[in-house]
């Protein structure tokens, strides 16, 4: 019997930076390592300002010998002890999202690695989309559009009536950058705002509820805009949905894992809640098929944050964070750890 040979060690990662040698009359550009695949626009913009190192293959699985102190990552690349061990020179990781569920922040703190996020660049776009999803679910607007396109308007008359947004009690789970912009918009539409957060915020006038369940009992709408952590996983469960009630609407523009998705589908099918607007799902891009034929849901493929404007703002912000770091100035959007 042949003895099994030991697996050979993976080849050391290669760098592809030879395409852009630094301009001859300027000082050596600072190095930035791309630890995730880059979108072309980001690649080009970063390469113009920094010496962009692009190790391959990704995700990184063996140590690299670079002395680069700054890196860019995109979800789902995990920034944890394993990754930081492979690039011990890192002092800064900049990420392209506001969400930080792909970071082991305590580990970064332990190692003195600063983290810069997307800050508020996506917040207005996400808030806009949340408002549109809510209006759509309450008013059944997209469903009425489908009715129109099927040619039913001349045959069957007006589409059935929806429900008015003004006067609805809206409970926002997570009153951070996005949640507070949602609140500000919906107030003008005549909604009554309350919220749940880890701690009450004395500077806001909205009513605070200590749990999502409590919030649900006194609201017509729940909007999820909190971080996805071990504590918030399935925070919207069967009990919360029943507390929200048969006229209740759930809007999720945060992370799919905040909701017990299987239970949500059941509640929607059984009329335990009235409807849902969902931009995010537990196993993207998979979406429970049962939702596809429902007229009381509005679906989107995790795009609430992404417009040409927010992408260009993000790129500017990323560059500004790196430039601040390299000039020993404070980061623009540091994550407190």
């Amino acid at each position: 019997m042949e003895s099994e040979s030991e697996p050979s060690p993976p080849p050391p990662p290669s760098f592809s930076d030879a395409d852009d040698p630094p301009p001859s009359h300027s000082p050596e550009l600072p190095e930035v390592i791309a630890l995730s695949p880059l979108l072309p626009a980001f690649d080009a913009a970063l390469s113009a300002r920094f010496r962009l190192l692009k190790p391959s293959p990704l995700p990184l699985s063996s140590p690299i010998s670079s002395a680069a102190s700054a890196a860019l990552v995109r979800a789902p690349t995990r920034v944890d002890a394993a990754l930081l061990d492979l690039v011990p020179s890192l002092r800064l990781v900049v990420t392209t999202s506001a969400g930080l569920d792909h970071f082991d922040l305590p580990e970064c703190a332990r190692r003195g690695v600063a983290v810069a996020s997307a800050g508020h660049v996506f917040s207005p776009d996400v808030a806009d989309y949340a408002v549109a999803l809510l209006l759509d679910v309450l008013r059944r607007i997209s469903a009425s559009g489908r009715y129109l396109r099927r040619g039913e308007w001349p045959l069957r008359g007006d589409y059935p009536l929806g429900s008015k947004l003004g006067g609805k009690r809206v409970g926002i789970v997570g009153l951070g950058s996005i949640g507070s912009l949602i609140a500000k918009r919906l107030e003008v539409f005549g909604c009554i705002i309350s919220y749940n957060s880890r701690k009450a915020k004395p500077s806001v006038s909205y009513k605070f509820f200590p749990t999502v369940y409590d919030l649900a009992t006194e609201c017509d709408v729940l909007i999820l805009s909190c971080a996805f952590t071990n504590e918030t996983r399935h925070i919207v469960n069967k009990d919360v949905m029943h507390a929200l009630g048969k006229d209740g609407v759930i809007i999720n523009i945060a992370r799919g894992g905040l909701i017990d998705e299987e239970e949500l589908v059941k509640c929607l099918m059984q009329g335990e809640i009235k409807g849902a607007g969902l931009d995010v799902f537990e196993n993207e891009p998979s979406v429970p098929n049962k939702l596809f034929t429902m007229d009381n849901v509005v679906l989107s493929p995790h795009l609430a944050a992404f417009t040409t404007e927010s992408s260009s703002d993000l790129l500017e912000l990323i560059i500004a964070n790196f430039e601040a770091f390299f000039s020993n100035k404070p980061l623009i959007t540091p994550v407190s750890m």
């Binding site: 989309y129 209006l135 559009g145 007006d158 107030e187 003008v188 005549g190 989107s300």
Partner: protein
């Protein structure tokens, strides 16, 4: 008001119909086939003292003339383009509409249409339902709504409500109106073309009259341009629909969100194939809360009329 003979022109609302049936002597115009309408009116005219119409079927000159006992036209709408108001004035017929109660819903829809067009909301929903997300990857980047310059044609109740909402999205507000209004935060433009040239999203929110028929014409559409979005929550005839379609097909206009059409319930099918167009079937006031409030206003106006009290929302 059991003795009040009311002609309802269209099956506009179950609750209203039930209440009119219960409280008045109700005649349903739509029960007569089109070729028998004139006869239906003639034979019931002696009993008909009130008419309840809407945006579908109102009270034109012929109808008014056929009803010599008509005292009041209570429209289930705020727009009175389907009522010959001048003829009513001549005859001393009162006219009421349903302002204020529908302002919020209509303004809400205007904002929704703008976001839906810019963010390709319906397209994105279709993308998920078709399974494309799993096979074709992420959706493309779309266009931000917040901060876009919003131009409002007509700064009445609905126009103001749209402005207030758009301000919450940090949108600079401009408007065109027959005369400048005392809102220093909103920039006034003296012509529709000027307004269209200086905004990203143009919302039609004025009454339909002879003057505003096709107020959105080719010149205005071209001024709005390939990055501009037209939102119509007014009346279909505000917009030259064939010019609109041509501009959209040729890429001269960036997008359109339409709740109303020249020949409802017929919508040109060219509009269905464009991803930068959102069309909905005249749903701006279509919530049960608002339609009940509109119905109560119609009933309240009729009640006031028969009891010789001041009408709630008179136009004439």
């Amino acid at each position: 008001m059991e003795s009040l003979g009311v002609l309802m022109t269209f099956p506009m609302n179950h609750y209203l119909e039930e209440e009119l049936e219960r409280r008045c002597k109700l005649f349903r115009l739509w029960e007569a086939p089109p070729e028998r309408r004139a006869e239906f009116l003639r034979s019931n005219a002696p009993s008909i003292r009130a008419l309840v119409g809407n945006a579908n079927v109102g009270a034109d000159a012929d109808t008014i003339d056929a009803l010599p006992k008509l005292e009041i036209v209570a429209s289930f709408s705020v727009g009175l383009d389907k009522v010959d108001v001048a003829r009513c004035r001549e005859r001393g017929i009162r006219v009421t509409n349903t302002p204020d109660v529908l302002t919020d819903d209509v303004a809400d829809l205007a904002i929704w249409l703008a976001i839906a067009v810019l963010r390709r909301l319906c397209e994105a929903d279709r993308y998920v339902r078709s399974g494309a997300w799993t096979t074709m990857g992420d959706f493309k980047l779309t266009n931000k709504f917040s901060g876009k310059r919003v131009g409002i044609l007509g700064l009445g109740r609905i126009g103001l409500a749209i402005a207030k909402r758009a301000e919450a999205f940090d949108c600079p507000i401009s408007y065109y109106s027959r005369s400048e209004k005392p809102y220093p935060n909103y920039k006034y433009y003296p012509s529709v073309i000027d307004l269209a040239s200086h905004c990203d999203v143009l919302v039609v929110a004025c009454p339909l009259t002879e003057e505003t028929h096709h107020i959105i014409n080719r010149q205005v559409i071209d001024a709005l341009g390939p990055n501009g979005v037209l939102i119509n929550i007014g009346r279909g005839p505000h917009v030259d629909e064939s010019e609109l379609i041509a501009a959209l097909l040729e890429g001269r206009l960036g997008g359109a969100g339409l709740d109303v059409f020249e020949k409802e319930p017929y919508v040109p099918e060219e509009l269905f194939s464009l991803e930068n167009v959102v069309v909905v079937p005249h749903v701006a006031s279509a919530t049960w809360e608002t339609r009940k409030a509109m119905a109560d206003l119609v009933l309240g106006n009729l009640e006031a009329h028969v009891t010789n009290k001041p009408l709630l929302t008179p136009i004439v």
